[in-house]
């Protein structure tokens, strides 16, 4: 048991290293770091596959209760290391194997428990595999970025769907969501937004966000307290960014505008996905690693800072102001460091009764 927890903690640390190097790559691309930054051109794969992919795979592996499933996040963590070491092709292979492993793992869950949320989770993992295969086959990071982001969006959507069962959306509501998801995947298959058209991708993304917002329990738990309220606040902000990303895709088509792609991917990656990580880390980290961290109200500060960072990034892209993008990057890094520091501090200050809420 202790060895397992240690392995899981090791994988979290590997994900954190991917985050650090991915962020460094991003800062390097903005010209904010002196000297060459390892794998600066691979900021996208390191962040999506190395960091988020490892976190999601680890959570799923722990949930499965089968220790061999830890091979999946080990593969994605290895992929990030290989990219940093300049072994791009080997890294891409590792990511593809991790994605295929996650697809099999989530499909097995869907067979054990046939439900909308297990199906969506499997579809999300399959998008990771699809994007990784395309990248290995020669597509550029830019070309596969929305497929990879689709993996993150659908994974989060599946988790929210699972929790929304208390709200009991009916069969018609589920059918409507299935239609939106089909539209999203079809848009990706048609090559949007890089074909020049982005309306289907934008529309389906906005529709998915609206559906999730309608049925998400966050609209109830925002009136609660503690961890549940904090998570709800981050989630609702994240949904707003998902809608903003959909607007960017429509009004600033990445294929034809200068900063449209930057706005959309950061609204999704930083605004939506990273907000979700902030929301769940105080619960998932102790569950997966045994780390004695917990929610404290001070976490609202870095969460709010993150929202400001995303707002500034989008404003910079709309205004074509590179200096603002650098400011947004500084705010993003500051929010991540502040969040991590506060979480770490909670491990030294223990309450009398340990309660996840």
């Amino acid at each position: 048991m202790a060895a397992l927890l240690a392995a899981q903690l090791g994988l979290i640390l590997a994900a954190v290293v991917s985050l650090a190097l991915g962020v460094a790559g991003g800062l390097g691309r903005l010209g904010m770091l002196a000297g060459p930054v390892p794998a600066a051109g691979l900021h996208g794969p390191i962040m999506i596959c190395g960091f988020f992919g490892t976190l999601i795979s680890l959570e799923r592996a722990v949930a499965s209760g089968a220790w061999p499933a830890l091979l999946i996040p080990s593969l994605s963590a290895t992929g990030a290391v290989l990219l940093i070491a300049g072994q791009d092709e080997a890294g891409a292979v590792a990511f593809l194997l991790a994605a295929l492993g996650l697809t099999v793992l989530t499909a097995a869950s869907a067979v054990r428990l046939p439900a909308m949320f297990t199906a969506v989770m499997t579809l999300g993992a399959a998008l990771w595999a699809w994007g990784s295969w395309q990248w290995l086959a020669g597509s550029s990071v830019t070309e596969v970025s929305y497929v990879w982001l689709g993996f993150l969006i659908l994974t989060i959507a599946a988790e929210r769907l699972e929790l929304s069962r208390l709200a009991r959306p009916g069969a018609v509501a589920h059918a409507v969501l299935a239609l939106f998801l089909a539209g999203f995947v079809l848009a990706l298959a048609l090559g949007q937004p890089w074909t020049g058209a982005s309306a289907m991708l934008s529309g389906s993304l906005a529709a998915i966000a609206a559906w999730l917002l309608r049925y998400d329990i966050a609209l109830r738990t925002i009136r609660g307290q503690g961890t549940a309220r904090f998570a709800a606040a981050c989630l609702l902000a994240g949904y707003a960014w998902l809608v903003a990303a959909a607007c960017c895709l429509l009004l600033l088509p990445p294929a034809t505008t200068v900063f449209g792609h930057d706005a959309a991917v950061h609204a999704i990656g930083t605004g939506f996905v990273l907000s979700m990580v902030f929301a769940h880390a105080p619960v998932i980290l102790p569950a997966v690693t045994g780390a004695p961290v917990r929610y404290v109200p001070a976490l609202y500060a870095p969460a709010a800072l993150l929202q400001c960072a995303v707002a500034l990034r989008l404003a910079a892209d709309l205004a074509l102001a590179p200096a603002w993008r650098q400011g947004a990057a500084i705010l993003t890094v500051t929010s991540i460091l502040l969040y991590a520091g506060l979480l770490l501090a909670t491990s030294f200050i223990r309450p009398r009764v340990r309660n996840p809420a």
């Binding site: 959570e59 799923r60 722990v62 949930a63 499965s64 209760g65 869950s109 054990r112 428990l113 949320f117 297990t118 699972e162 929790l163 069962r165 208390l166 709200a167 009991r168 959306p169 309608r214 049925y215 329990i217 109830r220 738990t221 609660g224 307290q225 503690g226 961890t227 549940a228 309220r229 998570a231 105080p282 619960v283 998932i284 102790p286 569950a287 997966v288 929610y295 009764v353 340990r354 309660n355 996840p356 809420a357």
Partner: protein, 122 residues
């Protein structure tokens, strides 16, 4: 009677343990499958809202701590999670189901009223 009092204390302790995502106690969510009391030992079996829940162990540990703190020594407390159990919203308390029930949207209500007027008989 004594067993009933002890079980009451156990459930009172478990009522302090919330599902961190929902902010609702595991008792009100219907996650407490069984409480068995033997001399000096309490065995609790929980279920999770989904067999693929990654925080089952965390909730079990928190529940164990809460019951130990409530009862004190010399009780041995063991909490297990039944991964094969299938949870449904009907297991939750009526007040919880009512709190999370979908509320009809104003836009939906207005659309329905508008359509009803359009197709109303003269």
């Amino acid at each position: 009677m004594i067993l009933g009092r002890i079980e009451g204390e156990v459930r009172a302790a478990l009522r302090q343990v919330d599902d961190p995502e929902l902010g609702v106690s595991i008792v009100d969510l219907g996650l407490v499958q069984s409480v068995a009391i033997a001399p000096g030992q309490i065995d609790i079996v929980l279920m999770m809202t989904t067999p693929t829940c990654p925080i089952g162990r965390l909730i079990a540990e928190t529940a164990e701590l809460a019951v130990r703190q409530q009862l004190g020594s010399p009780w041995t407390v063991r909490v297990a999670v039944d991964r094969a159990a299938v949870w449904t919203p009907e297991r939750a308390a009526p007040t919880v189901r009512a709190a999370f029930a979908p509320r009809p949207s104003r836009i939906g209500r207005r659309l329905k009223a508008g359509l009803a007027q359009l197709f109303a008989r003269a």
